[in-house]
């Protein structure tokens, strides 16, 4: 990758969240090519993503609230019914190494479905879903952290749980953004130069 090419993943993430605001993406690329660092670029992308998500969710707060309740219910059912059932049926298969990809695949699918069902606000909803996955995992994580502090034996479980939680959140976000990026209308990247000013 040349110094002049901005980080591809950061630009992709940004375009998922502010797809309609091409001017912002262009401004970031212009500043990056004027000598800003990759760290600066990522920082700006994360701020823009956070701003766009908060604006979107605040503008549609009823939908956001409904989604929080729905996702909470899905995750509760998953944790309290579905996982114990799977353990009962396929206990051996669900030993940690095997369980991880299954859970990530489920998380990815959940993110994709949630984004698919909320087309106008896909990226914001994907991030909300990811945050909900994290919140669902948080109580168990806190208990494990408490145990690890009192007994070293639990430290390995804690490390695994950190990786597990991060992967779950990442899968949920990736699923939503994947759906979101496929939904972005492709526009020609180079409109004619010296175009007259047109009101937005």
């Amino acid at each position: 990758m040349t110094r002049h090419a901005p980080p591809i993943i950061a630009t992709w993430v940004l375009s998922c969240f502010v797809g309609e605001n091409e001017a912002l993406i262009g401004d970031l690329i212009e500043e990056y090519r004027n000598g800003r660092s990759r760290l600066w670029y990522w920082k700006e992308v994360l701020i823009a993503v956070f701003r766009a998500t908060v604006t979107e969710l605040r503008a549609h707060w009823v939908l956001s609230l409904r989604l929080i309740v729905l996702l909470g219910a899905i995750q509760w059912c998953f944790g309290h019914w579905f996982v114990p059932l799977l353990w009962y049926l396929f206990g051996v298969l669900l030993r940690t190494p095997y369980w991880l990809p299954v859970a990530c695949a489920f998380s990815f699918l959940l993110g994709w479905t949630v984004a698919r069902l909320h087309r106008p606000h896909q990226a914001a909803v994907a991030l909300l879903n990811s945050a909900m996955v994290f919140l669902a995992a948080a109580p168990g994580f806190c208990r494990l952290a408490e145990d690890a502090l009192s007994n070293d034996r639990f430290r390995a479980y804690l490390y695994f749980d950190v990786v597990f939680t991060v992967l779950l959140c990442f899968s949920a976000l990736l699923g939503g953004l994947w759906r979101s990026s496929n939904g972005i209308e492709r526009k020609p990247k180079t409109p004619p130069t010296h175009a007259p000013l047109t009101p937005v």
């Binding site: 901005p6 502010v18 605001n21 091409e22 001017a23 912002l24 993406i25 262009g26 401004d27 970031l28 690329i29 212009e30 500043e31 090519r33 920082k43 700006e44 992308v45 701020i47 823009a48 993503v49 956070f50 701003r51 766009a52 604006t55 990247k189 180079t190 409109p191 130069t193 010296h194 175009a195 000013l197 047109t198 009101p199 937005v200």
Partner: protein, 111 residues
């Protein structure tokens, strides 16, 4: 008086930068102008969020400009302060001037 009659800190800073830049105000130039004059770094995402809010309140208008290769072919979006925006800036300036008047504790650099 409603809260909407006055501009917030960030809104006022951005509006003043727009006035200073006149026809050349777009995301990057606004950020640079603020950095140059008051040494204050504002994220571009924040600038756009404020500008969109101001545009919804009809204090700012925008127009799509030319695209250049160094922007990855993306067009610039130029912003201008509307007559309503100019009135709000003046209202805010008068309100702040009134608040600054008669504060002997601050005059002469004493806190």
């Amino acid at each position: 008086m409603k809260n909407e009659d006055y501009l917030g800190n960030l809104e006022l800073i951005i509006m003043l930068a727009l006035i200073r830049l006149d026809d050349e105000a777009y995301g990057v130039s606004i950020a640079r102008e603020i950095r140059r004059t008051v040494a204050y770094e504002i994220a571009l995402g924040t600038i756009y969020a404020v500008l969109e809010r101001l545009e919804q309140r009809r204090m700012v208008s925008s127009a799509v400009g030319e695209s250049t290769p160094e922007r990855g072919g993306r067009a610039k979006r130029y912003f201008r302060v509307t007559a309503k925006g100019m009135r709000k800036v003046n209202q805010t300036r008068r309100a702040l001037a009134k608040l600054w008047q008669g504060l002997p504790q601050i005059e002469g650099g004493k806190a």
